[in-house]
Symmetry: C2
Subunit: 475 residues, 2 copies
Amino acid sequence: MADRIFSSPPVAVNLGLESFHRSLLDQGIASMHVDWRPPSPAAALLTQLDGDAIDRANAEAVRRLVDSEPVLVDIRPACEVVPGLEEGVILHAGPPVTWERMSGPQRGAVIGALLYEKLAESPEEAEKLAASGAIRFDPCHHHRAVGPMAGVLSRSMWVFVVQNRTLRNEAYCSLNEGLGKVLRFGAYSPDVIEKLRFMERVLAPALAEAVRRSGGINVRNLTAQALQMGDECHNRNVAATSLLLKELVPHLLAADLDKPTIAEVFRFISGNVHFYLNLSMAACKAASDTILGFPGSTLLSAMARNGTDIGIRIAGLGERWFTAPAGMPEGLFFAGFTQEDANPDLGDSTVSEVAGIGGFAMATAPAIVQFVGGAPADAVRHTREMYEICVARHPHYKIPVLDFAGTPVGVDIRKIVSSGITPVINTGIAHRKPGVGQVGAGLLHAPMAMFEEALAAFVEDQKRIEHNHGSPVGV
Amino acid sequence: MADRIFSSPPVAVNLGLESFHRSLLDQGIASMHVDWRPPSPAAALLTQLDGDAIDRANAEAVRRLVDSEPVLVDIRPACEVVPGLEEGVILHAGPPVTWERMSGPQRGAVIGALLYEKLAESPEEAEKLAASGAIRFDPCHHHRAVGPMAGVLSRSMWVFVVQNRTLRNEAYCSLNEGLGKVLRFGAYSPDVIEKLRFMERVLAPALAEAVRRSGGINVRNLTAQALQMGDECHNRNVAATSLLLKELVPHLLAADLDKPTIAEVFRFISGNVHFYLNLSMAACKAASDTILGFPGSTLLSAMARNGTDIGIRIAGLGERWFTAPAGMPEGLFFAGFTQEDANPDLGDSTVSEVAGIGGFAMATAPAIVQFVGGAPADAVRHTREMYEICVARHPHYKIPVLDFAGTPVGVDIRKIVSSGITPVINTGIAHRKPGVGQVGAGLLHAPMAMFEEALAAFVEDQKRIEHNHGSPVGV
């Protein structure tokens, strides 16, 4: 028997951390890796919940989310439409954060916004003002808005106005500035500000006219098509941007605009393969806001990062944030930059994953690995893994390569805690210092701690409700 | 022993025709299918050739093909640029065919072209003229041109002028009319003719101005991008058409055209997801013409169908056609039509497969199965199979889902004969009667007989060369 065991070289079987497996392979030792993670200790909490009642609540909640039909109906100055964006208020991505704790790129974007709004005349003056307490910082998410990366939104910036045709709620997002040295990645040099002024003066008003003439552009349809065309609509928006342009051009031509202006607007959008991202984010916000405060549901209603913290909201727990330190994306860096330069994870763009696209739809976008790293098979693997933590498949967003299965949607924190799998996120990477800009793009998983904390709070909340009223959900 | 054999139910192992396997499964009988085809009896001919010399010739030939860089440089009336398109000449798709043997849809398109050219005043008159011998019919392929489906090209139609930047050869193709009731599918009603006149009067001249202003649009680049966006650029051209529009719009806006004209042109193209096909075909013709007559090469230089016959040309055998009866595509039919209505396989669009895209690149386009039938896994399978009969991978056309492998390119008739695998073709399906139009889209494999005949002729030709001059290739 021993003879037979040792007649061939041993093969290691590795459970858990894949890095052990890889280092065996690197040393030329045969190893098989079993993809398994221990459940979180918090999984024990699940026994304290009425699973059936929560399943019912989640099923109803996810239906609201996927039945949402976000339509771009207008483009307007933020101060005219975003509720509570008063003078002296600056919105930012992620959960709440003070100036003192704010990450480099978010500080850079705030400096830029103060210069752009002519509230300061120099970066130094802007920094002083930001630190003085005279400016109120508030998350975009608290104002029906979202913002990519730093996510800084100020009164004079124009926003996409996206209306959910199903429930009539609205959501907003600024217009995408392009890649590289731009405000949302923390840059604030004069050319950055000048571009924002061009967007305010020329781009946004022209697009607004086109959008109003169109009678509304159905963003859900555009996203559904783009997912058949190799986009996952978070970090790859090539097809979606083309499709959006195709919708806009006839209305730009019909509007009271001269040809050079139309050409300028067209060139701005066609030169930026990520232009669609911000529109998609507003659409995802309009969809995911429909479950904000949905009673008894353990689904994620928001996930966002400010470069210091990552925060989540749970449908049944309303507006409360659960936070953890923002993670560090691994990915591909632009020439001249390395992982050393990277700021921790940043931006509201994870609203994409909450709504069932982005990292969750990566199987539709094998070519994205050239931007975020990895191999095409990883893209499919990420999507398959996300089915484990979701309660539904999106009826409108289909993945051709998985036999047109719907994308995983409706992230259930119970499944996260019991499987040990957290949401995968596709993201841009900002330089950690203010003023520099984008340095790369990559991938990461959200940290487990905040999901555990949220689940514990959910259990507490259910107990409290039960105690006060006799609960339909607690046991 | 017998006990052990019969202790579990038998499982059939099926080699060869998959239908036997499927019918066992239908009857609830366990069956495994082995994907295997017997080599053609003509494979014996291969021993009579100097394989190494042919390999060298093919390697050089395929390099010419894939190094081609087709660029759209102009759009012009066919009579001004297509060589030999004199008065009284009508070009058509596929190998040569007489009016008597011409398929219904090709006859329909000829009738339409004669009405359009005002050579006849009624369909009856046109038919009489076509049958009179006063019109000379000639394949597009003999005039540096290609045409989809019926592929009928007459003097007043405008054509894309595609120049191969590498070898300076040119190729031409008409502009795509859209789907449904159109000339290329054999329709010739007044609205079909009216649309052709609009294309001649408004569309083509406007686009021509834009193309000239652009300084040339690189078709190879557009195709390479579209393959990353879910197109295979034969039967799925959604992304490519969007990308082409993105290139054209700034130049349309800069041209001396009024906004309503630009809007009309834009709407025509954006309303037709196949607009790119004809441009792509001209580009594939420009690439594949570089190996027409390439000495000692067994690669396909052309494959085309006229709805009666399918024909191929072999690089080393110059302009000679080898033909077989055109096959019958299986696929999906538009509402109200069935397989009964289908005309046999039709069109020059198989120039796509000869140049390494279309059916050969299906793995890039899993969503296409909604148009041509089958499951997404079939799309990958078709591409994998085509590697078996090709001598190279395209250095510019990459397939994300196969780890960015190049598409199979350079179809070697030796490999076809020895493997029993013939090229897969994605195609539109025309109604078999003149005047109706498109009824569906589907897939088929080219018939083996013509490849066998071509190989026999190649062997003969090599022997003849050896006899006359002492040959570098024959043995």
